[in-house]
Symmetry: C2
Subunit: 317 residues, 2 copies
């Protein structure tokens, strides 16, 4: 059996390996999603690799392929991946305390298929550029438990000297603020994250808290309006920060809070405009025009991972 099939070229699998689940996509040669699958993450290096392999095998079996038929498997992981050595570190969410090299472990488990492992925000940046049809420099701003950005600059992933590029969640924005788990005070993450919304808004409706908050604010609940606008102000500060350092053309809002959809972009755009109201300089940078949100149900991270293993990076503009 061969993997040269409709869509042209060989197929690939992309994975987004999180602390609780592995989300996988099967892409055809034209980078269209042919199937998705998910599995539960098991903590520790061996458990993570086994869970990842099972998702790959499931995707392949469903399409009548063997893993060895794939052009490759790309995986996004929450942690630092050294691009030279492939070593993964700081992967506390995966229950991995030591430094490991997950790519060769997963490749061996899958019979030698090429495997690339990359930071999850970086693969999300690649996937977002592709799925939203964006050329030019891009920041994928993840608003989840924490806040951080994946950066695609000049057509290349920006990883940085020590993998700290895009770690904007730990830039202090209020030195009188509360202590952050990172040890500093008043970090941006304490105001612009999904966790910040969870802490400020008691969700009573069972739906995602950010969705509940934005709906309540839309219905005029004054507390919800205040919490939403304070959150949006903090995200707007993150956007300003990304533009005044890297001047990215696109800021794509992602992470759990992105489930809110367009109302999230609207709220952040309002904050951005309010912050720029007294500043012709800031207005000239048109921050609001740079905002996008990841569409619900588009798995940008695994798609980006599947593109990455095939060497498909969007070109910079």
């Amino acid at each position: 059996m061969t993997a040269d099939r409709p869509g042209g070229g060989r197929w690939s699998v992309g994975l987004d390996i999180g602390g609780t689940k592995v989300l996988g996509v099967l892409l055809d040669g034209a980078a269209a999603v042919r199937a998705t699958a998910r599995g539960a993450t098991r903590p520790g290096a061996a458990g993570v690799v086994a869970a990842a392999a099972e998702v790959v095998e499931r995707l392949c079996a469903g399409a009548g392929l063997a893993p060895a038929d794939l052009a490759g498997v790309g995986a996004g992981v929450p942690g630092l991946v050294d691009p030279a050595t492939g070593r993964l570190s700081h992967a506390v969410n995966l229950g991995i305390a030591e430094e490991v090299e997950p790519a060769p472990m997963l490749a061996e488990r899958l019979g030698g298929v090429p495997v690339v492992v990359e930071n999850d925000l970086n693969v999300a940046a690649v996937g977002a550029a592709r799925e939203l049809g964006l050329s030019g420099d891009l920041a994928f701003l993840a608003l989840g438990t924490g806040v951080a950005a994946g950066l695609l600059l000049g057509g290349e992933l920006r990883r940085g000297a020590r993998g700290a590029a895009g770690e904007i969640g730990h830039i202090p924005v209020d030195h009188a603020g509360p202590v952050c788990p990172c040890g500093q005070r008043g970090c941006l993450e304490l105001y612009a994250s999904g966790a910040a919304i969870d802490a400020a808004w008691p969700n009573r409706n069972g739906r995602p808290t950010a969705v509940d908050l934005f709906a309540a604010a839309e219905n005029g609940d004054p507390t919800a309006v205040a919490v939403r606008d304070r959150f949006a102000d903090a995200v707007a500060a993150a956007v300003r920060l990304l533009v005044l350092t890297c001047d990215v053309e696109h800021v794509v809002l992602g992470g759990g809070v992105a489930e809110v959809g367009e109302p999230l972009v609207d709220a952040v755009a309002r904050s951005v405009r309010r912050q720029a109201s007294g500043s012709a300089f800031l207005r000239s940078l048109a921050l609001a025009d740079r905002l996008q949100v990841v569409p619900r149900e588009v798995p940008v991270a695994p798609i980006g991972a599947a593109l990455l293993v095939r060497g498909l990076l969007p070109t910079g503009g």
Copy 2:
């Protein structure tokens, strides 16, 4: 007469065109400085071009060259230069209100020699990398009247989608702070600039105010210590900001305040360490180890401009 001379290859001239003076260097083919010259800037496009041309002609005459013998002339200017069109805008310090294309104007005035015009912080970043022998990603952090950075990432100048890359001086760090000329409140520039030192320290000794301040602090003057440390804290925040967005390997302190020399690095390194004292995360990034200062009397901006016109960008690491 030919420009193929000792040092190998053709010579070039680099200019740093500021609001009051034009500083020029003549580089030989091995990128060694053979001569320097300076002249007074005259406001407006025609005046700037004439002043620049005179400095070039003076440097050439002293070396027995004609401008047409040069490999090219590079010029750093305080303003935004569109890399595609060569158009210069926002050059208020040069008394140029309209958009102009200074490169062809200067080239024509000099008999057709190739001319490249670039933002002054960008050429300074190129020159600093060369003069300090730094490979790897670098930010040139200019501490002068304002605060901004030139960024050299992956071996290329980072200009950004609208020329705003590195404009970190206008990131607010205190929303209750005073109004900045840019229209926002509490911008970093209000705390980390030479102008901030001038406002807080009444210089009575005729030497540069920052040098006077640091000397007084060294002598134990409690007011000087307080002003110096507050300034150093703000610069340390700028360094943290650059690393947590771009993760540059080197942050080179430049601009007028850099005349202070190593005591400036020492003070900022102390602030960096104090800010990281409660944060293992921040300590792991070793911010203090990334600091350097431009040595006094090394004209990094014109040197960078002269390298740039010859296509000599340091390679990224």
